[in-house]
Structure formats: C-alpha cells, structure tokens
Amino acid sequence: MGRIADVTRRTFLFGSVALAGGVAFGVYKVQETPDNPLAQGLAPDAASFNPWVLIRPDGITLIAPHTDVGQGARSVQALMIAEEMDLEPGQFTVEPGQPSPAYWNTAMAADAVPFLHTDQGLAARSARTAIGAVIKLSGQQVTGGSSTVADSWEKLRRAGAVARETLKQAAAIDTGEALDTLSTEAGAVVLRDGRRIPYTQLAATAARIDPVNTVTLRPPSAWRLLGKPVQRLDTVAKSTGTQTFGIDLMPEGVINATVRFNPRQGGALLSYDAADALSMPGVRQILPVTAGVAVLADNTWNAFQAASAIRCEWGQAPYPPEMAQHWAAVESSFTEERLDKVWREDGDVEATLASGAGIEREYRAPYLAHAPLEPLSALCRVSDGRADLWAAHQFPRLAQQLVADITGLPTGKVYLHNQYCGGSFGHRLEFENIRYATEIAVQLPGETIKLTFSREEDFAHDFPRQIGMARVRGVSDSGGIRALEIDVATPSAIASQSSRANLPLAGPDSQIAAGVWNAPYAIEHMRVRAYRVPELAPISSWRSVGASTGGFFIESAIDELLIEAGQDPLAGRLALCNDPASRRVLEAVREMSAWDEPLAPGRGRGVALVVSFGTPVAEVVEVSVREGKITIDKVFVAAEVGRVIDPVNFENQTAGGVIWGLGHAMNCEITYADGMAEQRNFHQHTGMRINQCPAIQVRGLESGEGVSGIGEPPVPPAAPALANAIYAATGQRLREMPFSKFVAFA
C-alpha cells in the first residue's frame, strides 16, 4: 500500500488495516475545511471563530471533542485553547460538542500506516498524508490510539490564538485604539491605559469580522498553563462525589431499564418466559430487543431483579464454545494460508538459526476484559422527529449513525450528548449500550429511557483483548543476538471491532505483531511474521491493543536470548537498540533503578522496552520473594513523549498504565465454557488492588521533537518486565499470562 491511488479507491487504513468507507474525493475536497458546527444558529451577539471556541455575552465555551474516558482529555484540550487565548481556569466552561467531521482526528494516520513513527522517508510521509486525507474526509472523530494530545496540540493552540487575535481586532474596532497597542490577559483585551474589555463584551463585534487566521503560536518558554502542574478541571468534582457520569443522569420522568441478551456473544434468543418477572414489584414492561429482552421498571434495582427472573433459552455461540478449541485454533494458525504479513525479513535468518545452538520458545497471552468501573449505560429519547442520546462514546459519529439507522432519522436529527465516564480502556468503542437504549426508546416515543447494564451483563458482553501466541527461534552468543525469528498469531482485534462498526476491511493488520515488528533493535538476521487467527470470540481494542501481547512476546524472548548469551539484559538491549529515543528511555531507567548495583539474594530486577503509538517506554520492575510469594516492590518507568503537556496527568497516566499492565498480567484472564465468558464479576477478574501496588517512579523525557501520547504506551512493557524480574529472582521463566497460574503473589 502507500500509493494514494490505492487509497482513493474507496478504501483507507484505519488502525493499520484498510477499510472501505465509501469515500470518493478530489483535491478540492481534501483542502476544504469542514463546516464549523458552532456557527449554526448563532445569535448576533455570539461569536465562534472555529469549531473549538464559542463566545457569548454570558460566557465562553470551549469544545473538547476528544472523549474523556478518565485520561483527563477534556481538561487538557481546554487548557491548550486557554493557553493561547489567555484564559484562566474558571473563566470558561468545557463541552464535548456535537459529533462533527470538523473534529476529525489528524493524528491517527501515524498509526494507520505500516511505517515506524520515526520513519521520515518519502514513502512513509506520503502514506501518512494520503491516509490523513481519507481520515479527514470520512470525518472520523475518534478518541483512541493515544492520539488526543498529538492530534490537539497544534490545532487547539491555534484555535485559541485565532480567537485571541480576532478579539483584539474587535477591540481595536470598538475602541479606535491601534491594534499593536492591545494585549490580552485573563479573559480580557487590555488597552494601553490599562482598561480591560472582557472577551464576552467583544463577541458581537468579533462575530461581524473575518477571523484573523494568521497567528504565531507562543514558544513553550512563554506558557502559563501547559507544561506546568495544574489542577485538572474535574479534580474537585471527582473528589467530592459531585462529578456527574452518564450513569448518574436522572431527568424528570426517566424510565429505568436493563437488558439481558445472549451471553454467548452474537448468539440468538430462542425463547423466553417473562411471566414471573412481569409480576415483580415496580416492573412496567418487558420488551424484545435484538437477541434479548429489556426490562423497564421504576428503579434500576427492580429492573435487575426482574431481568434475572426471566427464563431465557439462548442459541449457540457463533464461535467455538470451549477454551481448548480457541487455543487449538491459535496453535494451528502458523500456516502460509493464515500469514497476514511478513513484517521484517532482514539478513539470512534460516542459515543463521541453522548455524548455532539456539532456543525455541512459545509464549501465550489470554483474553482479558476491559471492565471499566462504571458499567455500560446510556439514556435515549426519541420524540418530535429527533433523537437524543446521553452516553460516553469514543466514536461519536458512528454512535450517532447507529441511532440514526435504528430510528430512521437523519444523522442531523440525532444529538449525542457525550458524557464523562467511569473508564473505558477500549470498551466505549463498542455499541451495545447505544444500540439497546435506542431500540427501547424507539418503542416508547417521548419517554426518556435510562439503560443500565448489570456488572454481570457488562462482563458477559465485553469484547475482550485478543488471545495470542508467539513461536520464537533465536541464536545468541557473546556478541549479542545473532538471529531472531518471531511468529505471532492472534485474531485481528481491529477487524473484529471494525465489522461491528460497519467499516469493512482489507489488508494486513499491523496490530497483530505490534510492538514486535517495530521493536527498535538492530538484529542482523531477523524475521517477524504475523498470522491472523480466524475470528473466535469477538474481540476489541484493549488499552495498548496489539502491543499488549506483542510486547510480552518479544521482550520475554530478547531477555531469554541475552541471558543465554551471558549478557546483562539492560546493557544487551542498549547494544542492540538503534533508535535514539528508545536508548534514552533505557538509559533513564538504568540510572533511576541503579541497575548496575547488585541486589540482595531473593530479589530480582527485570527490564523491558516497547514502542507503541510512537512512544518508547522502558520499565524496570523490582521484585522480592518471601516465603515463596512474590512481591513487586518498585517500578521505574521512563517514556519519551517529545514534550510533557500536562505533568500531573502524565504521571498519573503512566503509573496507571503500569498498574493496568502488571495487574492483568498477574491476575486476569477471560476463558470460555459453553460459549460463555466464565468470569462474570470482579472477584474473578480483579486487575490490581492497592495491596499489590508497587512504588512507581515516573520520568517523562522531552526531546522536543513532536509530541506523542501516554495513555497506552506504559502498558506493554509492564508484563515482560515483571516476568523478567521473576526470572532474575527465582530462575523461573514465565511464558504465559496470567502469571498467577504458575507463581504466588503476596
């Protein structure tokens, strides 16, 4: 791929696989800027210079189109605008805005092409440009791929600067003062004599003039808000129980609802008997929905109780019902027929493998649930030729389209009120809550339906992280790793997810071997092959996607080969590493962890380095063993993101990513029996609790070259660094997650 002609033929790459989006365009169309959705229906005294800034006499609204899934997106987007606009926190409100092509994600192209982020060659740049054009044309407003800051950091600062300069122009007109005598500060234009005109008073004039689009962004040395520890805009609300999440909305007259549908994902409902449920207290109605039943009741508890009293006969799963069959499918996918792509083929791997005594290994990674703490919910009302939906979604325009499809309304009549949510980790890229809330609401026009999933339904209908396996062969000696062959087999999470989003696909999926094919190691003889396992259980993007499995595979194998050759795992990686940014993060954790100083007996350190979403992250995990149980004492983590925009949030995302990676590697798996996920609640799939949490030291490196994300990249190195540390402490090599199947943790 990579030629624009391929792309224009109605396919484009998304998450590294081509998808047919029904897009046709010419150059004029690419250059055209999508309409500003804020410009519709503006009062004469209100001004909007671009899709992110709205000024009215009664206040200033900033639009943060990336969905806040707990990563602080809404706050950091607003701060980028406020920085250039000279607004202080408290002087504006922040809204997610309505879904619009104006909010297309400019940064996703970097991960949608099969080139390293560091590759600035012509082919890589052309491919990014082509893919970027198509993402723009399809107007994909998506929160994912750790792209929020990378996507926003130029355009939102620019949006703020345009607003600032236009407001100055308006002030010059209103006062007759010369433009170059005006300045801005804290939400006002300041005249030479010190008089201040609040922006809100300038809206009417500003609305009548053309926006000043030629602006200069401030250098980081002049920043007041960015790059500094600031209080997240939602911190007070989230510390006092006053933050409203989607599940908390209770408009007057709302009808509470829940659903039961086939726990064999995608299976049919053959029959049901709701007689008992209908007679239960508070139950209003029981309605059919796709492959399931909805209960409407006067409160959520009554709805849950009644739903569990419905006797349902479920159809079979459209995938193998037993876990052993899933593993058998993975094991048998290392074939020519299932080969998705040869990602690396350097030197002569076969000859080198044949020339020395090498190792052969197999590694495995299980299915995992997203299980954000707020269960899926959505509110929907269909009335008077419009539909309103209140829910958090990472694909707002696709959610809007789904509601339009179910209701028969045009998308322009579907209003999505994107909400704060209690986590996502990828779950809110899916549509089940949207679909069922709308299916219920369309049967009860004029009523506001609040759908809440029970935790058990949320687990049963999750689309888990991909299951996966790697077969590795390698040869190493005192000179380092001579040859490495890694074959990775997983089903395609991106293909599974995209099929539910009505985005048909073609081409290889770079996520299958993510973290492996782009590993920043110069190994003379190296081959990476990705095999696509036919879809088994439906799966989806899980925080860090393919690198969460691929990173474990390669960083475990590298460790084994270096140790086999008598090399130090960290120094050996440095000797192989050919990417300056990756070298910097390795050097950083070497120093932070005092790697070169020996540890006491019964303790061990492990290191891992994975590049994902353009961000290299190195982690050193330190463990100790007491009475046969392993304790994770410390983690040292360094990430190169170019520039740290929001230091507090950066540290929280990094530590949180490490905890996410460790907790699931230690404790969690989703397994299937009789076609159903066996884990139904947190007692069976916990992640990490505070008593297992290590001390975590975080360092952000700022090379100043570009800006990349931090939401996902800390996840992939955590599992292999832990496995490598356990090996160092105990001599036991763990090649399969979850590790709790093989060792005991304190």
């Binding site: 707990g70 209080q231 609300a237 006092t240 209770m250 959520t300 508890w301 929280n652 008593n691």
Partner: protein, 167 residues
C-alpha cells in the same frame, strides 16, 4: 416505610425491604455520588458510613438501615467546604476517571477516624477492598497520608459523622 438518618437529616422511604441502600440512595433519593460498580461487595465504589462504619451499601438491605445513621460522600463535605480527606484528594490530584473515588474517600475517612498515624501497610490493608481500574493507588496512598497529617494537626477529635471539614 423505613426511617433513617441520612447526612444528618431524617428521611423516610417506602421501598421493598430487600432493596439495597445503594439503589435507595441513587434511584429513590437522587444521591448519585455513591456508585454502583459490582453489586457484590468486590469493588467498594458504593462505600458509605453506616453508624460510623465503612460499609458496602450494595449489601445493606433497606430493612437493616431502619434507625441507622448513614453518611454518604455528599454529607462528608462539598466542593466549597470539603472534608479534610476530600481536600487531600484534591491536593494530591488522585482522580483519573474518578468513578471509584467516592468509595475510596469514604473508606479513607472511616479508616482515619480510627487511626490517625497509619503505616503504609495499614493503609494498604484498609484500602484493599476498594478497586480502582485506572490505577490511582500511588496517589491514594499519598492522599491518605496527607489527610492523616491534616487531621492530626488541629487538636480536636474527628467524628466522620459530624465533621464536615473545617480544615
């Protein structure tokens, strides 16, 4: 009809006696700061103080609440007048998604009412029932320590049921 004291005020509700306090708070009384996460006492998002003791409100049938004193996150403090534990949570910027934090704060408030000089191990043991999927644990530890210092500083006894946080 069940009567109890909620955040210092008398309330009466008419609901089935098996209905958990969590859902009475949220769906009947409109106090949505207390969160539903699991329904089986595994996550702690629904933690309230029940007669001064941290309890999972998803496991408290309303029949057991008759005559009791219940304190929720809304009664502990407010954005304008936060309780010291809430202030520590703000100062340490604990929250990411924030969904578990009402429960974390209530659990910490109860814990610190019994132990104003906790060790790291005591903090971990006290907070281990409260799950955070975002992984805010390092800052929860910092916030609990900070709250302990704030509560220890003034010479006063701390009663989580009445103290709304002058600190």
């Amino acid at each position: 009809m069940t009567s109890f004291t909620l955040n210092g005020a008398a309330v009466e509700v008419e609901v089935p006696e098996g209905m958990p306090l969590l859902w009475v708070l949220r769906d009947e009384l409109g106090l949505v700061g207390t969160k539903y996460g699991c329904g089986i006492a595994q996550c702690g998002a629904c933690t309230v103080l029940f007669n001064g003791q941290a309890m999972r409100s998803c496991q408290l049938p309303i029949s057991a609440v008759a005559g009791a004193e219940v304190l929720t996150i809304e009664g502990l403090g407010t954005p304008d007048d936060p309780h010291p534990v809430q202030q520590a949570w703000i100062d340490e910027q604990v929250a990411q998604c924030g969904y578990c934090q009402s429960g974390q704060v209530m659990q910490a408030a109860w814990f610190l009412s019994n132990n104003t000089d906790p060790s790291d191990a005591e903090i971990d043991a006290a907070m281990a029932g409260n799950l955070c999927r975002c992984g805010t644990y390092p800052r929860i530890r910092q916030a609990v320590r900070r709250a302990a210092e704030m509560l220890a500083a003034p010479v006063q006894t701390f009663d989580p049921l009445t103290d709304s946080g002058e600190g």
